[in-house]
Symmetry: C2
Subunit: 347 residues, 2 copies
DNA sequence: CTGAAAGCGCTAACAA
DNA sequence: TTGTTAGCGCTTTCAG
């Protein structure tokens, strides 16, 4: 099964290959020739091979997407956003799942490098190191949803962003990697204020790997009420999340409110409190990061901080496709506190 | 920023390019030469370009994955399965989201063709037609989770499969596209038996696009109790699912049990019955297709038919990677009825 | 406006 | 065991 090549088309149309190439990429040609070439190409069902083109142009043209886990609906939505944008640009997307593990992330980056995929969107797994090779190779990288690391003490760089048509952005120094983020700070602050307003004083945070900005925002929003003992972290697995939730709730019975910094963490919190006989929101108020369709179906319906998952992906894709052009240093998308039934006044 | 090529390595090592190629792909070479080449390659941080190799070999080596919607956790898990298998084979995965729309599916197939991705795993969106070009181009295709269409009257082809280490499989005629499926028939049958056993007689089915096997199994399992009026289909969107559920429950108040043929459908059913003041399981018993972490957190916890999402993907990837070899015509993975709290005796 | 020809990086035949 | 060489399909000068 031999594939139709440009040469076949050229011969069949009685022109040179260069002419065919020109016609197909919108170059100049006499209307007459153009017509004939197009007709022949259509008739032969000719599809230019990306292989040849890519080799010639030294780039794949596709875009890479690295997320921690497609099972997490947030990343599912994010991926859909990226795919939507990529499709409208006609670009293929190579997807990798890192499991939030820098090692796997590095491996996937290597794979993309090998494929000459020179544009990548990634939810970085924390270790900035692994991106060295990518940068050195001149990859266009856009981070989304996370920042690789936060210089301790360094103030949040995105704070300087300006509000611009509903979204904040600013010119970026060439060194930094553009980043698309949800406004965690504001989301967390709103949630904490809400809980404080309900009278809660012992408010815990249950986090997973990553999301340093959420934790920082949590500490800041809580101010003097913050207690490091009430800030706990689980690993990436569901078991680990459950264990962390359970142990937190068991060893600190005075906790009356909990902010779960992610979806799986929220599930774990519900399960654990149920197991411990804690009633939501009677004994424990719960706010979960990230809205999902089923949050409403839960018992009780979960109050959540919603992130625009799809938008995050779409914007990131826009950014990475606008390579070369003057791009904003970052984009900050709004979050929203959706109040349902999982929070109540302090018991 | 010029990339290091095989030529650079060859020069630096004082050998020919062919030797470098051989060494790097495990061909024969004197230990001495091999050592030197490897050392030089490592020192130069050389990465063979997939572009050159692919063009030469006339294939990309990557694998394509087409799913309806990454937002649906089943497909998220499925994708994770594919990615896991692909990673262990060192293959990149190009992902596309079809939205269950044959047109988009066709477009994505075209894109893969253009990229010379010659191995594809797909959850087909129903129209077998669109796979014509792929087959003609000699693509290795594996279907997963769905079959493109069921010849009406034709008995289920997978029924002939043999049980083989916990999984059924059989040699396939070369014409058919290998397919990895969850055992819908058995899943639906079990669920229907269960509902019948609870005394239900008016059992409805709420389906989305696709899944003809589930519907067929439903009719068959219900036997004389089947009523076409109680078998309704929604489009792909959440709104459409809700509308269908709502209208079904409103116009047939005698329905006491409902089988939701998918996750979004299940959500819709819960929402709609809540809206209509129907209590689950008091007034309506509900079984939902596909288990998800939050089914347990629902109120009440949902009884579900679980599919091994990740396995489906993994097996499909195994199959597509074993191209050329004698492959089974299909794989049938077991489903499981997980009884929780959403079903009760007929009111 | 068009065609001939030179590669892009790699592998596989063929020589040595 | 090695090196030389011929392309894979395409784009892009460079002549005509």
């Amino acid at each position: 099964m031999k594939r139709t090549t440009i040469k076949d088309v050229a011969e069949a149309a009685g022109v040179g290959v260069a002419t065919v190439s020109r016609v197909l990429s919108g170059g100049s040609a006499s209307p007459e020739t153009r017509e004939r070439v197009l007709a022949v190409a259509a008739h032969l069902d000719y599809r230019p091979s990306a292989l040849g083109r890519n080799l010639r142009q030294q780039r794949t043209g596709g875009i890479g997407l690295l997320v921690p886990d497609l099972t997490d609906t947030l990343y599912g939505r994010l991926a859909e956003g990226v795919l939507a944008c990529a499709r409208s640009a006609g670009e293929p997307v190579v997807v990798g799942s890192t499991g939030d593990d820098p090692e796997q992330e590095a491996e996937l980056i290597g794979m993309l490098l090998e494929q000459s995929v020179d544009r990548v969107i990634a939810v970085p797994s924390g270790d900035a190191e692994v991106w060295g090779p990518a940068m050195r190779a001149g990859m266009t990288v856009v981070f989304v949803g996370e920042q690789p690391e936060q210089e301790p003490g360094d103030d949040d760089p995105l704070d300087e962003l300006l509000l611009l048509d509903g979204v904040r952005s600013a010119p970026r120094p060439d060194s930094a990697i553009p980043t698309v983020l949800a406004d965690d700070r504001s989301g967390v602050r709103t949630a904490v204020q809400y809980l404080k307003g309900l009278g809660h004083r012992r408010i815990a945070y249950l986090g997973g790997p990553g999301h340093p900005r959420r934790v920082a925002a949590f500490r800041q929003a809580l101010g003097p009420l913050a207690d490091e003992d009430l800030i706990v972290f689980a690993g990436g697995s569901r078991d680990s999340a459950y264990a962390a939730a359970s142990s937190l709730l068991q060893s600190h019975r005075d906790v009356t409110a909990l902010l779960a910094g992610g979806n799986p963490l929220g599930e774990a919190a519900v399960l654990a409190s149920r197991e411990l006989g804690l009633r939501i929101p009677g004994d424990l108020s719960l706010v979960m990061y990230d809205d999902v369709p089923w949050a409403e179906l839960c018992s009780p319906p979960l109050t959540v901080i919603a992130q625009p998952g799809q938008d995050l992906g779409y914007r990131a894709a826009e950014l990475v496709l606008r390579a070369g052009a003057r791009r904003p240093r970052g984009v900050l998308l709004p979050t929203e506190l959706i109040v349902r039934g999982s929070c109540g006044p302090r018991p």
